[in-house]
Symmetry: D2
């Protein structure tokens, strides 16, 4: 017997919690943890429940669907670890951190493979006995590159795609295939900088903090729902290279935290925002 | 019509949320926010619910008591701001912050008076048009001092006593009169220092962070349930006076945060721990 | 005898520290603290020295100027607290914090007056016995407003102008009169938001941190040299109003920290960046 | 031509900086960075200087020694990366982080070997092609264990010993052999907890932050000079296991930061405190 997670979202109305807990009670299931949130701007209800007891999944789902109506999204996420593929480029810090956390079972995921558009990280990845695929990305050949990516991905039964400093823009069509299942990490600044060489720009602007944002990828580049953000302090003695090193440290922390939340089914999407039950 | 808070705690058993939400549904009350927690070590259930609708308080309480049984603690905290008295000594930082936040209605409290064992803060307090009482504390005369305190406090219909750097140990008998209703702030260090002149000790030890802890006061000095803790970084260039100044900044932040949580009825006691629904 | 600060900046060349310390040694002055930084991008040298001993200011300045050449900027900041005027609008949090810190001598400044374009803060300011001037700002009459401001400011022998949530854009001509002597605080987000109602935008974007930036004001709005930045975490349960409250808390901390640094002569300008010796 | 570091410490007296920079000027060496600190409690002077130019090390050292007198400690740390051996037990998080950072050259060190009293980490360490030595530690046989350790360590020309969750107390005699060259990481709490199962104790006390301290090891257990401290927030929903996981995250960050500072020769000892030039 395991603790199961039940995730529910639907339009808010009076009596939802009573109805849901009534179904669980009728099944002799024990609620050991429960979090709800009603988003005031959309009047949408979100609930994450931890249940002890033997769950007859089809029967409980059917009863809940009847109780909550057609608009409700009701899920018992599978007990198994999430199956993920990581896309990377040349930077190692996020990939290395994921490899270590995966090796020691800290992220509730199975890392199926790393795919990169450079060979740089092959020794690191293979030292952890994880398959590494090199798929070069010629300038101006995004379509061909994405076709090759899809072909390789087809060999894996993946649930999530993690962009661990992948540094390339994915086409809307590609993103659409993995809707709400691609997670990206990128550096963030106060203020934001548009364009190339962001750490050089941050240096010239004399920023005092460097941040990172983990978010779901949508067709609108870097504008998807934010999962985790954090910053670390920097000062005038930091060169652009030092700023980048600090940026890497905070990116690594923020991505690991975001993946842990997502892979433990603690993240709901609500328009362009996330609801986190942590 | 206002949003009301309903706070419930009782031994955990199957069906609690269903039973409570059933009573609310029967009263046509709308749950707009809800947080629950079952403490695994004590198997105790805690719930904070925000309700929209006209509450017939005695009837709802009676129905809930029937549904939950004798062991349950069920409360609709009054809508009015909490009535508090602040005890202080010579340090101004926490008192000044509370005076400003009170003036602008940020803490859901009414500051009835400040009582101090020194005259130092009288000008500050009176500039905010808050009554100030000077009750000296002669060495070795704790009983007389506490008697005088109680006499002055008797003139106020207070709910909470806030020790804003009061710097004196209250007797168990005094604490008992205001059980779970006295909140204290004190500096905290890694590692902890016993005895006098803590900032001098922290300086000699070369600590790299200075912290503060807000907690409920129990008979066991400084060992009561922790509400909020936080730290700020310091370094070798800080003198003991600089460390104290940093300590004051973090104490002020931590106390304000703790009071906001308590005065919004977001804090439950669970043995020597707190459950915070924030 | 007091500790004096000596601040020097000039183009970097070999032997600068030796030359400066040679002059001080020749005057029998004791260096008790010293910080230098050579900015690698501009090859500019910055030094802040704390000196014990009786300083014959004109003689030391003259010797240093001879030793360092015409391009050097050499200053013994006066021992007296900085004279400042605060510009405000309706928001109280930063003004209140400055009033308290000023009352207790924490910022090395003398607060000469508060000027606001609303009457809202008069009771707060006057309870601290600080002059309050109300100068209304009619829509579209910036020139007239700034003329009135300047007339009032002419009555004070001020060194710094602090914009404590002043919320109005100053003309380049006005800024020019107080070049490098106006300090502003504003909210900051990851990502940045352009336009009105920033907290509403931040809410809709689902940000996970809220920040604040204190900076010198230049003709280029909000783009002046950054002095201090910091953020605090927020989450999906925060309404736009809650985000604003968190924003106020971090603005207050960041402004106080920036003013302390500036008023202790710890901040140098280097192009559009600041060098902080803290 | 490389940038060299010059580190000096000696009793403070007038003219030290002038004397040191005079020697460097006489050698046509260019100071590109310089940090000094005079500890007010011990009147001891510390200086870290970055120098460009061809350094004739014996000649410069001799000149400086003449200028500063017998009590001065003057060092040009070798350009080569520090040679280190890591002692570990069963916990992987700090060791894994060091292996990754070492692989990518982030810590200015060469990791010669990992020695552990359990076999648990062998696969991890060997996947990075670093020698792994298993030296069991039988209960009550500390002397024999330390003898075996010393024998293995004798095979490596090491400069620093890093205790990456080694979890065993080293004898004063052992510590003495590597005086000021052993760095340890341990969890830290507000308040501190003595005795076994600290995370269980922290859980029962309901702490709201979990911290870590990196420090030099002295004969007095866990009381050596602190290099880096930091905390992360936790709450009532964290089990003792969750607290431990948070503790691991902060330990890993704090140890990496401390090693970076030490291995870049940015850390001076001053009695039981550290002076950090970062």
């Amino acid at each position: 017997m395991h603790t199961r997670i039940l995730n529910v979202e639907c339009p808010d109305r009076r009596g939802l919690v009573h109805a849901i807990t009534g179904v669980l009670l009728g099944e002799s299931l024990n609620v050991v943890g429960n979090q709800e949130f009603v988003d005031p701007s959309t009047r949408r209800f979100f609930m994450r429940t931890e249940i002890d007891g033997e769950v007859d999944e089809p029967r409980v789902l059917s009863k809940l669907q009847t109780a909550l109506g057609a608009g409700a999204i009701i899920r018992f996420p599978p007990l198994a670890a999430k199956r993920i593929v990581v896309l990377a480029s040349k930077e190692h810090h996020c990939v290395a951190d994921l490899l270590v956390r995966h090796m020691f079972g800290e992220l509730n995921c199975t890392l199926l493979a790393v795919i990169a558009n450079h060979e740089t990280l092959r020794p690191l990845v293979e030292s952890f006995r994880i398959p590494f695929h090199y798929i070069p990305a010629a300038e101006g050949a995004r379509e061909a590159h994405e076709d090759a990516l899809l072909k390789t991905l087809a060999g894996y039964d993946l649930e999530y795609l993690v962009l661990a400093k992948y540094m390339r823009i994915l086409s809307p069509a590609f993103v659409q295939r993995f809707a709400h299942r691609i997670i990206n990490i990128h550096h963030s600044f106060l203020p934001a900088f548009i364009g190339a060489r962001p750490y050089q720009q941050a240096y010239e602007r004399g920023v005092k903090v460097i941040g990172a944002t983990a978010h779901f990828v949508t067709a609108d580049l870097d504008q998807g729902p934010i999962i985790v953000q954090q910053v670390i302090p920097v000062d005038h003695t930091h060169s652009p290279q030092d700023l980048a090193a600090s940026g890497h440290d905070v990116e690594q922390m923020v991505l690991a935290r975001a993946l842990k939340l997502v892979f433990e089914d603690r993240v709901f999407l609500c328009g362009n925002r996330t609801i986190l039950f942590d």
